[in-house]
């Protein structure tokens, strides 16, 4: 499903005219943090090296932003829409399976 379809109907879009926004910026829905993309804040970027990964999943609980998706008990590639590049996952990986590089290089 695309974000547009999944989005809660109550989410107020950016630059909504003041007459149509909610009073005091009340957010009249919940569970919508995923629609606010914070990947742009990143200065450093973790790179997952799948061939070296043992799927020990130590990285997953250490991620402060739920940016390591899990499918069938295995980690997938990073969710770069939300990963802020803190580097905790690269630090904790016992198998050197996560590189940590300067964003854009």
């Amino acid at each position: 499903m695309s974000d547009a379809v999944k989005k809660d109907k109550c989410i107020i879009e950016e630059h909504t005219p003041w007459q149509e926004t909610t009073l005091g910026g009340v957010v009249t829905s919940s569970g919508n943090a995923q629609y606010y993309k914070t990947g742009g804040w990143r200065a450093m970027k973790p790179i997952w090296k799948e061939d070296q990964c043992k799927q020990c999943l130590l990285c997953w609980p250490t991620c402060p932003d739920s940016s390591i998706p899990i499918k069938d008990k295995k980690r997938q590639d990073f969710d770069y829409d939300h990963c802020k590049g803190c580097g905790v996952c690269a630090k904790v990986c016992p198998f050197n399976a996560i590189d940590f590089v300067v964003e854009g290089e």
Binding site: H15, T16, L23, S29
Partner: protein, 408 residues
């Protein structure tokens, strides 16, 4: 039948709060507002109200608790003065921007320093742009009436803003006057049930209140907040009309006292209006065309209406019970003068800072103001409009001599 009683201003406000029976009161004691939560907590202890009374550890916490409670969906009230409100500062803005119609009685007192517990308006004037509606009462009766109307004004769907019920510390808060109270059931019916559109305890709607507002949202929310304040003027008048039907007591944005043919007028807020009316009556008896405008609603500021009311005058003195410290004039003066900008044949206008830190305001002080205005009308000159009334000034021979006499 209305109930006749003799109450202090604080007690009258506490009685009104008992009749309103709010869901939550969170307050911290500070002179001269202390009696409001003190009386009210006795009503709580005696089971006369259903209110959750939150005894907090500071005024910052008091306003924070009020914000939390009102956001949860509870009708919430508090009271404070001067430095107590100063400690609430950041939360005042948050209450207003979250559009939470909290009602707070502000028992006006000089904002330290130097430390002073007596009355002036420096606390209220400091908060004039915090986004709160500000009503000023002259008497115990008005403090009582205003706090009841405040609930309806703030909660109106076109407004949704917090309201300050301002009345003068000690002069109004502690002096006992005859008062007409409404019956409990009439107050209950008048304020009705609080029905917020969105509230945190609504199990059918998961919401967030007070979220981070990034640049693509913030401006629109502030614009919407400003509209709430603009809309308040009409709502205040509608609520006043309904209140008049109930009580026979008439309220507007301001009160005009003997203004019809007045050439000279004083603009004033709060209890000093009573002293000034006494002087107006005396001068009128001598055939002098003097009048008085008492501002009841300072926020929203009734600029157009004031301009209309004052436009026919020749000279006006605006009385400020706080200084402005902008080097040019105090808040009420600047706004009244600005309101008169579009008037043709503008009246001369001067400012008197008076009564700071509880300095007495006597009828002779008010007489001096009308006499100064007469001189301005005569000469057509209003030199040095930024003036003081009642300050001991070495260059003001009369006042300095009187002060010296007191010292001896």
């Amino acid at each position: 039948m209305a109930i006749r009683d003799k109450l202090s201003g604080n007690e009258a406000v506490a009685v009104a709060m008992r009749q309103i029976n709010p869901d939550v009161v969170a307050a911290f004691p500070i002179t001269p507002s202390t009696e409001v939560p003190q009386y009210f907590s006795s009503f709580v202890s005696n089971g006369l109200v259903d209110t959750e009374f939150v005894a907090v550890e500071s005024e910052h916490s008091a306003m924070s608790a009020c914000i939390g409670a009102q956001a949860a969906g509870a009708r919430t009230m508090t009271a404070t003065s001067a430095n107590g409100m100063a400690l609430m500062w950041e939360m005042l803005y948050i209450a207003a921007s979250c559009r939470l119609p909290i009602v707070m009685s502000l028992v006006t007192r000089a904002l330290s320093g130097p430390i002073n517990i007596h009355n002036d308006h420096s606390d209220a004037m400091g908060a004039r742009d915090s986004g709160w509606i500000q009503l000023f009462g002259e008497s115990n009766q008005e403090a009582y009436d205003n706090v009841i109307m405040a609930v309806r004004i703030g909660e109106h769907k076109d407004v949704q803003l917090p309201v300050m019920n301002c009345y003068d510390g000690f002069i109004t808060s502690h002096a006992v006057e005859n008062i007409e109270l409404l019956e409990d059931e009439k107050v209950k019916a008048f304020v009705g049930e609080y029905k917020p559109q969105h509230y945190l305890l609504n199990k059918d709607e998961a919401i967030a209140i007070g979220p981070l507002d990034i640049p693509s949202y913030y401006f629109e929310h502030k614009r919407s907040q400003a509209q709430g304040m603009r809309n308040a003027k009409k709502v205040i008048l509608e609520v006043a009309e309904e209140f008049e039907k109930l009580t026979g007591r008439k309220y507007g944005l301001f009160e005009e006292y003997k203004m019809d043919d007045a050439e000279r007028a004083i603009v004033v807020l709060g209890s000093t209006a009573g002293t000034a009316k006494f002087v107006v009556d005396q001068l009128r008896a001598q055939g002098e065309k003097v009048g008085l405008v008492k501002i009841r609603v300072f926020r929203p500021f009734p600029a157009e209406e004031l301009a209309e009311a004052l436009s026919h005058c020749k000279a006006i003195a605006v009385m400020d019970k706080s200084d402005g410290f902008n080097g040019k004039g105090a808040p009420v003066f600047n706004e009244v003068r600005s309101a008169l900008y579009d008037v043709e044949n503008k009246p001369a206008i001067i400012n008197y800072i008076y009564g700071l830190g509880g300095r007495d305001v006597r009828s002779t002080d008010i007489e001096k103001v009308y006499s100064d205005l007469a001189q301005i009308v005569q000469t057509g000159k209003a030199e040095d409009p930024y003036r003081y009334l009642g300050v001991v000034d070495a260059n003001d021979i009369d006042v300095a001599a009187e002060a010296a006499a007191t010292r001896e």
